[in-house]
Amino acid sequence: MTGGLWSWEQAAAALPPILEGFRVTLVATVVGMVIAAVLGLVIALVRRSAGRWLTVPVGLFVELVRSTPLLVQLVFVYLMLPSVPALVIGCTVLGVHYATYLSEVYRAGIEAVPRGQWEAATALDLPRARVWRAVVLPQAVRNTLPGLGNYAISMFKETPYLFSISVVEMFTAAQQYGAATFDYTEALTMVGLIFLAVSYPTSLLVRRMENRLA
């Protein structure tokens, strides 16, 4: 099928580097999400419990990170830290960026724990740390699971931004293949469809979880 718009040969040739890149995509998503989940919780707790000398700068940092492009942040950190491997920077920046989103998810989850739970714990004279660990957080985490799931999917679809710091994840692999062969059609189309094939079923799962927890 020469001269056609779509070549299965091209598609077959592009697939191995794309699948190689897919591994990197998954690593970035998983590591990024772990960083985001932990850091997001820390931010949420700090903004809730700490004094103004800490909540104000943290709040400002969150606003700044959340309302500026991930793309620019990636390149910024990459240029500032030339000796750090690009994938490490990619995962970290993704993680920090999404931590600012997740801190809001945690905040909402904590606020959704009924006041009565706090009051009951206080009436039982439970130490404050114990109240958090045994009563509030388990309930809050339950509330936040769908939010975490949705942001994980969102992060997965934003991993292509790592092309800007030369991390060869799935999209970069396709782009490099396209640049080398002057034929982007098959590679880019397949990458788009792989994103859809992973994110759509996952979003259905999250939606089902949402309905079950509702």
Binding site: S67, V72, M80, G147, I153, L188, V191
Partner: protein
């Protein structure tokens, strides 16, 4: 540092042009996204499966295939099929399609959130189907959807930074130019991030003003605190939901 400031002053006109390009992308993309969001959001509620199923497919497709891939697909692959778009058009179309799909979920959710009694009253008063949506339901849904649309607008602004890679001289591009001029990465990127932050802040203020007006129109009082609120709270509907 004084050298940097001098370079910054020299770079201001170009940075200004970058802001114009970024705003063109953002507002153009937002306008297209809004039209799509309303159309798809209404179609998703249609009774006919013939309308609902294709709507669902379109929405899931553009949410699921990643903005970056869509943008570069339009840039590199669409010309192969005989459609060559200007870079600016590629940017606006990609942003519009992607955020239009997300926005349609916001529109659909807000329409669903209008109390069912309002729909029933329009029926009891024999108002036609188009009229009831336009005059009664949409104004109420509009007030509900603005905060979520604000989140999407900020996401869209951030997404517009991709334009640098399809040869547009937006803010992101001008940051790179400033870095070359000053040879100070930290300085130029700090300036650049602050420019984006300021843009996001201004857009948020504008949307908050719209929200106050819309709320007042449906009889819910405005609060000054909401007008000067710093930034919208992202929710899973706004940025996450796949």
């Amino acid at each position: 540092m004084p050298d940097n400031l001098q370079s910054l002053v020299d770079a201001l006109p170009r940075l200004g042009e970058g802001v114009v390009v970024t705003l063109q992308l953002t507002l153009g993309g937002a306008a297209l996204a809004f039209v799509l969001a309303v159309a798809l959001g209404l179609a998703a509620r249609a009774r006919s499966l013939w309308l609902r199923t294709p709507t669902r497919v379109v929405v899931e497709f553009f949410r699921g295939t990643s903005l970056v891939v869509q943008l570069f697909w339009l840039f590199y692959v669409l010309p192969v099929f005989g459609f060559r778009l200007e870079s600016m058009a590629v940017g606006i179309v990609a942003l519009g399609l992607n955020y239009g799909a997300y926005g349609s979920e916001v529109v659909r959710g807000s329409l669903n959130a209008v109390p069912v009694g309002q729909w029933e009253a329009t029926k009891a008063l024999s108002l036609g189907p188009v009229h009831r949506v336009r005059r009664v339901i949409l104004p109420q849904a509009w007030a509900l959807m603005i905060p979520l649309l604000t989140n999407l607008l900020i996401q869209l602004l951030k997404g517009s930074a991709l334009a640098t890679y399809i040869l547009l001289h937006d803010v992101n591009y001008e940051i790179g130019q400033l870095r070359i001029a000053t040879r100070d990465t930290f300085f130029s990127y700090a300036v650049g991030l602050l420019v984006y932050f300021a843009l996001a802040y201004v857009l948020t203020l504008g949307m908050n003003a719209l929200e106050v007006r819309a709320k007042r129109r449906v009889g819910a009082g405005p609060t000054l605190r909401e007008v000067v609120r710093l930034a919208p709270v992202p929710t899973s509907v706004g940025a996450g939901a796949a």
